[in-house]
Subunit: 206 residues, 2 copies
């Protein structure tokens, strides 16, 4: 594309470096910003630099936080015997939105992925082992993606925690609520048979 | 959504004010930025403030430009007897990409839209009339959207230029190249019959 201005070209290029945003969408966004007041655009820009420069991570669960201890970790009403291991902030938010979990979290900051060069040392696994060894946690719930990388990470952490008395579980894999059986893949359907649950636990609205 | 950080929440809100970006996409973009270096994020942000603060408009055609006269207006090899009237920068880019137009442009900066409170006075119509009255332009090609607003703007400009000797044309409305007749709407098909063209002009590759 031939832009009539280097400034526009630069802004379009910056937008299109974001995931899922192509040149055309980027141009539409740039256009939107051009119609905003300079004040609004400077607020827009400031939000990202400020976030990147000032963001902190909770020293306990490694979730992003404005303080040294995040809101969840500093909540004394939560169940300290339950620890949910997740990949990143989005998973914490997703689980919090279910209102079904009242324990604490541990954010790994990624999953083991040799293809991307991410090994156990790049993740917050050592602090997890230390947390478990403190003894207060009774159950570690692995809530990672059901992918090869997720399974590998589950297995690595399972091995690392095998010397402790903590119970290790993973979130259930099965047919999603609302899904029809005939469209489910065989692996998922097979797993949902093996890991069948008592009827009274199956009601989606509790 | 419950974000664990005000900084994240602020950044997500800024992204989701862009057209076509919801909270979930915004969070994905914010996540991407969190993984970039502070240097990269500050370049990202600077691109938009710099663009908004330093952008100039060509004093002749009102296209965005880094100088007082844009690249197209300062090109002496173009045909000064042809003037193409468009809504905004994106239309200039679209027409330039066809390589079928060698004249100059006039960017209105919008179209007449009473519903949005945009009247003729909010657009660069007076400078257009002045340009035409200079006498060098022989033909004004209206290249606006084929909407009610586009038609209204076409008509308003047609009336304003009626006292001059300039020829006024609009871009052809008809069946898009590659489209099948049976799926075309009646109005477009009807117009394409009325405004039929000599066979030798109909070849899409020239």
């Amino acid at each position: 594309m031939n832009f009539s201005s280097k400034l526009i070209e630069n802004a379009v290029n910056e937008f299109s470096r974001l995931p899922g945003i192509g040149k055309k969408t980027a141009l539409r966004l740039v256009f939107h910003l051009l119609k905003q007041s300079p004040q609004e655009v400077s607020e827009f820009s400031a939000a990202f630099t400020q976030m990147r420069n000032e963001i902190k991570y909770c020293t306990r669960c490694y979730n992003v936080s404005d303080n040294t201890l995040c809101e969840i970790c500093s909540n004394t009403k939560r169940d300290s015997s339950l620890l949910c291991v997740v990949e990143d902030l989005r998973d914490v938010m997703a689980i919090e939105n279910t209102n079904q979990f009242n324990g604490f979290y541990h954010v790994l900051g990624g999953i083991i992925s040799p293809m991307d060069g991410i090994g156990p040392k790049d993740l917050n696994i050592e602090p997890l082992v230390s947390r478990v060894k403190e003894g207060e946690i009774k159950e570690v719930i692995m809530a990672l993606s059901t992918t090869m990388e997720g399974d590998t990470t589950n297995f690595y952490i399972y091995k690392r925690l095998s010397g402790t008395t903590v119970k290790i579980s993973t979130i259930a894999r099965g047919i999603a609520v609302g899904d029809e059986l005939e469209y489910a893949d065989e692996v998922t359907l097979g797993r949902s048979l093996i890991n069948r649950i008592p009827y009274e636990n199956s009601l989606s609205v509790r």
